[in-house]
């Protein structure tokens, strides 16, 4: 299921990370897993401080010169990956009832 653009994300309390040479190294403490993020992923990671996916995508569109729709789709997909890794906490807005 695609995350709504208004979904906010925040780095998990159970991770440790450092950015070195423009790339983030992320440790998920409970899973004992290590991950490195590429340049774009690192930018998303740095912005994961309670902002919305839409807000982060907007920043990516400006930083990396991609159109906003592409940035939004890529950000939402990447956020799902980070969520599956246990690296972020996601706060989804309540969906409207049909």
């Amino acid at each position: 299921m695609t995350l709504a653009p208004s979904t906010t994300i925040r780095q998990s309390e159970r991770i440790a990370s450092r950015v070195i040479d423009g790339k983030a190294v992320v440790i998920v403490l409970d899973a004992h897993r290590l991950h490195t993020l590429n340049e774009v992923g690192t930018r998303v990671w740095e912005l994961a401080d309670g902002r919305s996916i839409a807000s982060i995508a907007e920043a990516l569109a400006a930083d990396f010169e991609v159109d906003r729709d592409t940035a939004l789709a890529d950000t939402a997909r990447f956020v799902q990956e980070l969520r599956a890794l246990g690296a972020i906490e996601v706060d989804e807005p309540e969906r409207a009832q049909p």
């Binding site: 440790a16 990370s17 450092r18 190294v25």
Partner: protein, 320 residues
């Protein structure tokens, strides 16, 4: 309970009795960080003993440029708990401010960091060699971490007076790499400690522990750190392969044996690894079986070496 005030000397036979009164220096105890890395004073059953076991020629070197990483004062309070079994490293430290605690069925340890490089330890555990070995194996990572250093799962050799560490998961070829290092001598067969000394240089020495390295077989040698190399098997020629910084940090972190499980501890380990990465060459090495790996590694280390004098020690050759 008797206390030792101050730690031991670099010359055990010349130990000033006044420094260890009222206990007597009755024996030497091999310790994982007794040789210039960290100086340990030990009190057991009210009797003080020193832990220094330093080759004479290294003592001469150390007198001029001594790592002097830390002073650790250990007081053992014997208990009737059962002797340690299993891996002491499985015990986890919890630090609150300057006090760290670890507890299990066989021991309870409290460490107080009383100065930047000075620690006081009270250990409630079984007396004797088993308790001593377990305490020291357990203490090393947490004290090293508090000093901003690292305990690495690594084999290590001394080549040209400098430590070369081989890291990688079990089966990667760390021991094989060390055995391909020609004239180099062993420094660590399973665990290596690296600490930045008071002069800002990284020093390495072997720690006991792991599958087959009992305390008494830990290396006496301490050497300036020349390089950390992640081992990769190769079908072609042996060669050094540069690692991008993030990848190098990841490889280092994979090899860190951290005593911490919390976020602060992980950040501390990452910070130490990142600092090491800035100050010491970290790369990958592709190792072809049967090669003279020293011919590949030596130029890499010497080209990047700082201008401090290399340590000269007599140690065990790596060749079988």
């Amino acid at each position: 309970m008797t206390r030792v005030i101050g730690s031991e000397t670099m010359a055990p036979r010349g130990l000033d009795e006044a420094r260890s009164t009222p206990g007597a220096v009755e024996r030497e105890v091999a310790a994982p960080f007794a040789y210039g890395g960290m100086r340990v004073a030990w009190v057991e059953d009210g009797v003080a003993c020193t832990t220094v076991r330093l080759p004479e020629e290294h003592a001469l070197h150390a007198g001029r440029a001594r790592p002097a990483a830390a002073d650790v004062e250990v007081e053992v309070v014997p208990t009737r708990r059962p002797p340690p079994s299993g891996d002491a490293r499985a015990m986890r430290w919890a630090w609150s401010g300057s006090t760290g605690r670890a507890e299990s069925g066989w021991a309870a340890l409290v460490v107080e960091q009383i100065a930047e490089r000075r620690f006081r330890v009270q250990a409630h555990t079984v007396a004797g060699a088993a308790g001593r070995a377990a305490i020291l194996s357990l203490l090393a990572p947490t004290v090293v971490e508090r000093l901003g250093g690292l305990v690495l799962h690594a084999t290590a050799v001394v080549l040209g007076g400098r430590a070369v560490l081989f890291i990688g998961p079990s089966g990667a070829g760390k021991t094989t790499s060390a055995r391909h290092m020609g004239e180099a001598t062993w420094l660590a067969r399973d665990r290596a400690i690296v600490v930045r000394d008071e002069l800002g240089r990284w020093q390495a020495w072997g720690a006991p522990g792991g599958d087959d390295v009992p305390l008494e077989h830990a290396s006496d040698v301490v050497a300036p750190l020349g390089a950390v190399l992640r081992v990769l098997r190769s079908e072609g020629a042996s060669r050094i392969v540069p690692l991008p910084p993030a990848s190098a940090l990841l490889r280092l972190r994979e090899s860190i044996q951290s005593g911490a499980t919390d976020r602060d501890g992980e950040h501390g380990a990452l910070d130490a690894a990142a600092r090491l990465l800035r100050e010491v060459p970290v790369a990958a090495v592709e190792v072809a079986l049967g090669c003279r790996l020293a011919d590949v590694v030596a130029p890499f280390v010497s080209e990047r070496a700082h201008d401090e004098p290399a340590t000269r020690t007599a140690a065990t050759p790596v060749s079988p």
